[in-house]
């Protein structure tokens, strides 16, 4: 038989069963990450070729069971039953057989052609488990393979098995061996008979539909109701269910689960022999330290400090390098090119000040995002992230959140953008969104320059206290907002379930780490990057229209700023200059300062070196030398991050000369209005990149809510500071 279409494979399994590792081992670099249509659940697809045939692999969301309750489970169940993949590969953690086989029992019930992969087989052997593979396969009626996906063991055999089963699917149709409790079994059989008479079941197994109807599954009901004679069958299902409820009370679901675990217990008894007393594993010993009563929290905080430093300092040299590359050679050579084409002035400005500057503001996030995704993937894949959530859960429970929300909040101090992406590790959507709404209140590093410049200009020796106070205000506002939002806007977050599996520790595979890092960074550039670029171009347009304006006050940007300015009068900074710098701060908070220098002291834009003066060799050399230097600096920063408190490579702080701006600021602000202004800078929308990230993760609606929340909280607090200060006579 020759096939014209590729083989389609679905990977199903528990979270932490090593499903992604199997997926990576099968598909290598041929993979793509996206979202399931209309869902925020990640969808991974890839392919490989075996014996000249293309095999497409879909990595289903990791689930503990199959039902229609969580989005992940709905997706997994619907894909297998509606898309009819040629083969379902069930990845099972061999060292945790019983729990994993609960899902297997449900997959077997569906009746699709299936292969069971006993992954992390090496760990199972270390634990002294002996699994009778042949007997296993005979009992379930589908092929059973062993594998150590992280080392590539068993992957070739899996490829071959997939190929074989796609050719002869009959050989892998599971035998229906799961029987329920007496009453339930009778109801299931009665329903199965009734369903078997229905004309159009779209390839569903009547018995599976019967069980699912008893379970009250919405998908099964929908499938059945599409059949012409559905009404009678659904009525029968309701009658049977009523009867079962009289027998079991509320516990029909428990009886179903009992039967499945009964099946699993029977199966494991026949195929698995394990030592009486499980040996204390390396994993257990790590946990004795990591989750220790006294050591647990200091260790977690230390690790967070290291991660924070890595994201901040290791990425920084590369960010500077990208910055220099864009503003130097890239801009320069573009100018040379445009000059040669005799491009008009507006086009030069659009390309250089709009497009290239916009691309630069996207790329500049890439280094820190890569470091963050890497660190997060390492913590997640190794199993530490679950322990961090375990250790910190109670601290976050106050906000109605769970332990998993702590890490994104901490990362927010560095940069809100990676922090928003880090909320992916939070299981429930509402909790994810709530965390994402609080992150902007964490004072990111881009706000620090604004504090410092104002602090030096207006607060003298008390500048340090002001900066420190602003950080505290951010945390307090986040805590209060979290408490209020959880109470009124996200009541379901408080009720959300926090049952957390603490998986065995394992070494992450380099390939898994790299793929995770690369795919997510690429996704940021593709999705959020477009939005950021669009806003940068819009801002350019506002600043330069009507065409030919010399004084920013006369541009559309100036007009908008003037229109907005009165809103800030109650907060003490109702000038168009202040409003304008806040608007441009949308692009990035540190831009507030550069805008202020431009409009307060009319700083000449020192750019456009005469195009002819560019030397390609010097540019190439500088760029490479710069990259080398950046790598060196990053390496030093990496070592510094691992030895906190001791700087192995002390460096002199460069004292930038801000005197002209300082003088201007002293003229335009009083200490009180400056304080109100800083509070506003702290709390209003961090930047367009954060908004774009929020839109990508939670949808535009929530991104807009976040902007509204930031603007109103910032305005209220800044006004409060100014008015109370005036009453106290400070201003």
């Amino acid at each position: 038989m020759t096939r014209s279409r590729p083989i389609r494979v679905a990977l199903a399994g528990n979270p932490n069963a090593g499903k992604s590792t199997v997926f990576n081992a099968l598909t290598g670099a041929h993979q793509h990450v996206g979202n399931w249509p209309g869902k925020t659940v990640e969808k991974k697809e890839g392919f490989f070729t075996h014996r000249g045939l293309k095999v497409e692999v879909v990595d289903l969301p990791g689930t503990y069971s199959l039902s229609a309750y969580s989005p992940e489970e709905r997706i997994a169940q619907a894909f297998i039953t509606e898309e009819h993949p040629d083969v379902v590969v069930n990845v099972v953690d061999a060292s945790n057989l019983e729990r994993n086989l609960y899902l297997t029992a449900q997959l077997l019930e569906i009746g699709a052609p299936m292969i069971i992969v006993l992954n992390v087989f090496d760990v199972a052997e270390q634990l002294g488990y002996r699994i009778d593979i042949e007997r296993f396969a005979r009992l379930v009626g589908v092929p059973v393979l062993k594998a150590v996906a992280s080392k590539g063991v068993g992957i070739d055999a899996l490829r071959e098995a997939i190929f074989q089963i796609a050719e002869t699917p009959e050989s892998a149709i599971p035998a229906p061996t799961l029987h329920y409790d007496h009453e339930i079994e009778r109801a299931v059989r009665q329903l199965t008979d009734a369903l078997a008479d229905l004309p159009d079941l779209q390839g569903y197994r009547p018995r599976w539909l019967a069980v699912k109807l008893i379970e009250g599954d919405a998908q099964a009901r929908r499938v059945v109701s599409q059949s012409p004679q559905a009404a009678a069958v659904l009525a029968l299902a309701d009658r049977l269910l009523d009867k079962l409820h009289r027998v079991y009370g509320e516990d029909v679901d428990i009886a179903l689960a009992d039967a499945r675990y009964g099946f699993v217990r029977g199966l494991t008894r026949q195929v698995l022999t394990r030592p009486q007393q499980p040996p204390r594993t390396f994993s257990d010993r790590i946990d004795q330290i990591v989750t220790h009563r006294w050591l647990g929290i200091p260790l977690f905080l230390f690790l967070m400090y290291v991660v924070f430093n890595l994201v901040q300092n290791v990425a920084a040299p590369f960010m500077d390098w990208i910055d220099a590359l864009i503003s130097g050679p890239v801009t320069g050579w573009t100018l040379v090119g445009l000059h040669a084409l005799h491009a008009p002035g507006w086009l030069v400005s659009l390309v250089v000040d709009g497009a290239i500057a916009g691309v630069g503001s996207v790329l500049v996030f890439v280094p820190s995002l890569m470091v963050m995704f890497f660190a997060l993937a390492f913590m997640e894949d190794s199993g530490y992230l679950a322990r961090a959530a375990f250790v910190m859960d109670k601290a976050m429970a106050f906000l109605g959140l769970n332990g998993r929300a702590f890490i994104p909040m901490i990362l927010g101090f560095g940069c809100n953008v990676p922090a928003v992406y880090a909320t992916r590790t939070i299981e429930h959507r509402s909790a994810r969104i709530l965390t994402g709404l609080l992150i902007p209140f964490m004072s990111c590093s881009a706000r620090l320059p604004v504090y410092v410049v104002f602090g030096m200009a207006l607060f003298g020796s008390r500048a340090g206290l002001v900066v420190w106070g602003l950080y505290v205000v951010g945390v307090v506002v986040a805590a209060l907002a979290g408490w209020a939002l959880a109470r009124w806007a996200f009541p379901d977050v408080r009720k959300s379930v926090f049952v957390l599996e603490l998986p065995r520790y394992r070494w992450p595979t380099p390939r898994g780490l790299w793929l995770h890092t690369w795919e997510h960074t690429e996704e940021f550039v593709r999705k959020a990057g477009t939005v950021i670029l669009g806003i940068a171009l819009l801002l350019w347009l506002l600043l330069n229209m009507p065409w030919g304006v010399q004084n920013p006050a006369d541009s559309y940007f100036g007009k908008v700023s003037q229109a907005v300015a009165p809103l800030f009068r109650p907060a003490g900074f109702g000038t168009w200059q202040a409003a304008g710098s806040l608007i441009s701060g949308f692009v990035a908070k540190e831009v507030v300062i550069s805008t202020m220098s431009q409009i307060y002291i009319g700083e000449e834009e020192a750019r456009q070196p005469t195009p002819a003066s560019r030397d390609p060799w010097a540019d190439a050399r500088d760029t490479l030398v710069g990259l080398g230097q950046a790598s060196l600096d990053a390496g030093k920063a990496f070592l510094d991050a691992l030895t906190p408190g001791i700087s192995l490579f002390p460096h002199a702080e460069d004292t930038s000369n801000q005197t002209a701006l300082s003088r201007a600021l002293r003229g335009a602000f009083t200490p009180l209005s400056a304080l109100a202004f800083l509070v506003y800078v702290l709390l209003y929308t961090p930047c367009v990149a954060t908004v774009a990230a929020q839109a990508q993760e939670y949808g535009w609606r929530w991104a807009v809510v976040s902007v509204g929340l930031g603007l109103s909280v910032a305005w209220a607090l800044a006004t409060g500071v100014f008015q109370i200060g005036r009453l106290l006579g400070v201003g």
Binding site: Y64, S65, S67, Y69, S70, S95, N96, E98, R99, Y102, L103, D253, I254, A257, D258, Y261, P278, D287, T291, H292, R293, W294, G296, I297, A386, A389, F390, V391, M392, D393, K394, A395, A397, S496, V497, F498, V499, L500, E501, L502, P503
Partner: protein
């Protein structure tokens, strides 16, 4: 000698190192379903591994896998205490 009746108690009251057998799950909704799929069913032994540094949640071992439950949620799971081989007098 304690009667069987006396030994039934909420899972949340077990101390680290103690083991119980699940006799009833009184939780509802998503929590109940999650507990079932994680292997917390009647007749299943459950061992208390440790308490988190801040006093909550608590780590348990069921079917050889480790999981964390908040005390509030563990209070709805009723277990029968397995005396740790105290019957030396036999």
């Amino acid at each position: 000698m304690a009667t069987l009746e006396n030994k039934r108690l909420p899972l949340s009251q077990l101390a680290p190192g103690q083991e119980g057998v699940i006799v009833a799950i009184r939780s509802h909704g998503p929590l109940r379903r999650r507990l079932l799929e994680m292997g917390l069913v009647r007749g299943e032994p459950i061992f208390v591994e440790r308490v988190a540094p801040l006093g909550d949640p608590v780590e348990y071992v069921v079917k050889g896998s480790h999981l964390s439950l908040r005390r509030r949620d563990a209070a709805d799971i009723i277990v029968e205490l397995n005396e740790p081989e105290a019957a030396h007098d036999a």
